[in-house]
Amino acid sequence: MPNTPEEKPYAPDEFISANREIDVVQIMDTIKKRIREKKESGVFKQSEIDEIVDMELLPLPDFLEVPNVYEPHLYPGEAEARPGKKEFHPMEVAFEVEEGSGLRGLVKKILIKIRKILFPLVRFMVRPIYNELKQFSVDRFNENAHNIFKNTEEIAYYRHLVLQSKEYIKLLHNALNNLITEASKLKIDHELLKTKIKVLEDKMEFLENRERAIEKKIFR
């Protein structure tokens, strides 16, 4: 910020430079005297001068600078996503089954073989119970399967609704963001057009004056 006369008085040669034939000291004395006279006559206050000095230009924003504020929230990490990068999917998780090994595995194999030998006898002994249980299991299975199917259908339906809503929300936010962006751009355009109209008005006025001046010159 430029120094104000009250804040920091400085030597005259600091403020201006000129040819040696020009008396810079005398110029500075006159300048100071004139400013003092104006101040004393109450024509201006130092605060008013400071306000003018501090006034900054307020340029219209460039519409290219209007940012898409929702994007990072709506699509987090999308910018970083690389093509070919495999996304996580629960259905693709592979489960590994542990196989027996060593003595434990050998015992397991022997027991399986004994069970195979004894299996016809056991089956004979438990057949009635087995049939009954089988029938019961089938009935239970059918009942459960029906329920599961029904639940799955419901889940699928609600899942569809949730996903659809999620997309709608995204679209709505995007539409809102685009509307704000477009409105901002329109506002900037509007301001620029106002400036252009002002410029045209000034030019028109100037041309009218000029026309009158030419007429005066011609008919004088």
């Binding site: 120094n3 430079s17 300048i31 230009l57 290219l64 252009k196 000029r210 001046a213």
Partner: protein, 352 residues
Amino acid sequence: MKVHQFLTSYSYGDAIGNEALEIRDFLRDRGHDSEIFALFYHPRYADQIINYLEYDKFSSPDNVIIFHFSIGSPVTKKFLRAPDKKVIIYHNITPHEFFLDYHRVLAKDCYKGRVELKNLVGKVDLALGDSVYNESELREVGFTETGVVPLVMNFEKFQQEIVPALEELFDDGKTNILFVGRIIPNKMVEDVVKIFHLYQELFNPNSRLFIVGEYRGFERYYSALLNLVGELRVKNVHFTGHIPDEELISYFKLSHLYLHMSEHEGFCAPIPESFYLNIPVVAYNAGAVKETMNNGGILVNQKDFIRVSALIDHILTDSPLKEQIIRSQEKALKKYLKNKTGKILLDHLQRL
């Protein structure tokens, strides 16, 4: 000797373009073949300027090409690929920071320009600056073969009469203060407006400010300036926009003082032009301004607006002081006479 010139752009009224034309005419007068090649040029000059891509037809290792360097552009590549002897005249590049808020493309071109300048080191036979300030930048970048050629200017054009309509409109007893230059942020036109406002409010209500210069491409800056004028309620501020030479000369002739508050200048042609027309100059000491002033006019070292406005009032109301300033300007002007600067250039070229 065939001496051709390369330019990035030639717009009507542009100081660098005008210099190129003056150099061409000066060289032709002395029997040298000379043409100007440019990337962009005003249709008005279509018969005088050749597209730079056609240079291959003219190129020869015996020729000299002078490249007026002031911004990054594809012309640099073409210039470097030519087998001719190479000279650059560096007109300085406005620091890109000035344009960041207003014109990103230009900011980028200015940034690129400085990168391209570094790339030219060791690839040109001679690097000239149109001021010692520009030459010192060339040396800082790494050029070893350097020199100074003040801008070649033609003051004869100022001998024409004032446009009658403008005379009728503006020669009305008001004190006219002039600023000439493109309406771009580094020129600090807002400071000119503020100083004029203080001058008008405190010292001379019967005054007018001419702001003469192109604003296309910087509409946002121009619009901000108009808002400032509106907020301050400054009266009689006249933005002319881009005008033909005869009107520019009229505005000079109708003005009582030239005020320049720019914070970056590689040369500043309106200062010697004002000197020529005996208009007292008050200019802020930035870039090459001090050197261009050459001890003429009044150089302001600090942006103290109220003091500058009082200084303007003092100059315009004290005739002996005004006379002293004009005399100092007449002495300073001798440096810029066409034959003198043209000869300096020719001497440099003969060194090659």
